[in-house]
Structures are given as C-alpha cells and as structure tokens.
Amino acid sequence: SQTIHQWPATLVQPVGSPLSLECTVEGTSNPNLYWYRQAAGRGLQLLFYSVGIGQISSEVPQNLSASRPQDRQFILSSKKLLLSDSGFYLCAWSHPLKGGRTDTQYFGPGTRLTVL
C-alpha cells in the first residue's frame, strides 16, 4: 500500500530564516506530487505540483520554491521566511494519469509552520 510522509510535524521559525519541508511517498512510482498551504480556517491553496523529477509547476508566485530531486521526494523551501508564510503545509500525491485512473489526491499529515 502507498504511504506519504511529511516532516517535521510542527515548526516555529523566525522571520528571515530559511525553510525546508520534506515529503516522501512510498509504494508507488512516478506519482504526481503537490504542495498546498492552508491558512487558519481557510481552504487549500495550491503552491506547486510536479509530474516528474525536476519538473515543477508553480501556481502562486511567492518567496517559496519546490524541488523534486528523486521520484518520490518533494521538498518545499524558502531562503527567507515571511510572517505571511505561517500556515499548515500539506503534501499530496496522485497516480500518474493513465486510462481509467482517477485524479484522487492522497494527503500527508501536514506541517504546522509558525513564523514569528
């Protein structure tokens, strides 16, 4: 079966510090990978998605970046955090699209980031 891991679970960082959040998926190959951010009491905002190693699409321009160094690893980074970067960060994966496959996304446990 497939599993998705995210770490750390919680993080408190000062403004201006760097950020690195990691997401890994097990039990599947060539997944689509996604990073979302959710502000308190709000819906999910898609930040990045990737259909393969080194292939990153950005949905929202900001001071965050994403990388996919391996097939099942997705990293969210920032060089200098802003207060507005606080939120709940979720990684998700979906099956690579083939005939009959659904677009269902499977989410990780999330990382709660607080920027002070």
Partner: protein, 112 residues
C-alpha cells in the same frame, strides 16, 4: 475547472442524516464530481466520486441529478466524529496532470 458553490457551514445532531449540496452550473461533459473530508490539523481525505445518478460506498452516498449542475453528499446517521470540513470538487478525468482546486468547503458541526 468548473466553479463550485457550497454552504459555508451546517449543523446537525448525532444520528441524523446530513445532506450537503454543491452547485456546479458550469460542469463540463467530461467532469467528475469528487468530495473530500478534512479534520482539523489533518490533510483532506477522499470520500466519494461520481459522474451521474447515485454512487454509494461504506462512508457516504453521492446523488447527482440528470443535468449534473449540482450534487448532494449524503452522510447517514452522523456521529460526533463526522465533524469536519467537506469539500466538493469538479474536475475532468483524466485531467492532464494538473492539480485540483479546493474551495472553502462546508464546515459540518455535529452536536450530541
């Protein structure tokens, strides 16, 4: 993606059936309707997906009228643990490797 409209919040009591309706007037022929559930501090979880008429699984039922401009998620006999946010999404299947867009969802509060 077709735009969806859901109620912001709903209240219910344990043991009742809850129906959450989602409007998607601009749904396209190839679009499917998917519902997710999200508990606090967790990622959304897939509940059910359908194209037309009725779909039922162990968790919920999904009713889709013939014109497909709306859909209703039905949760039978809710319990306190069903308190969560429910998202309705409409997306093409297959979607050409693009991501789904989540709106604000419906916040369901189940009371004892």
């Amino acid at each position: 993606l077709a735009k969806t409209t859901q109620p912001i919040s709903m209240d219910s009591y344990e043991g009742q059936e809850v129906n959450i309706t989602c409007s998607h007037n601009n749904i396209a022929t190839n679009d499917y309707i998917t519902w997710y559930q999200q508990f606090p501090s967790q990622g959304p979880r897939f509940i059910i997906q359908g194209y037309k008429t009725k779909v039922t699984n162990e968790v919920a039922s999904l009713f889709i009228p013939a014109d497909r401009k709306s859909s209703t998620l039905s949760l039978p006999r809710v319990s306190l643990s069903d308190t969560a946010v429910y998202y309705c999404l409409v997306a093409r299947l297959p979607t050409g490797r693009r991501a789904l867009t989540f709106g604000s969802g419906t916040r369901l509060q189940v009371q004892p």
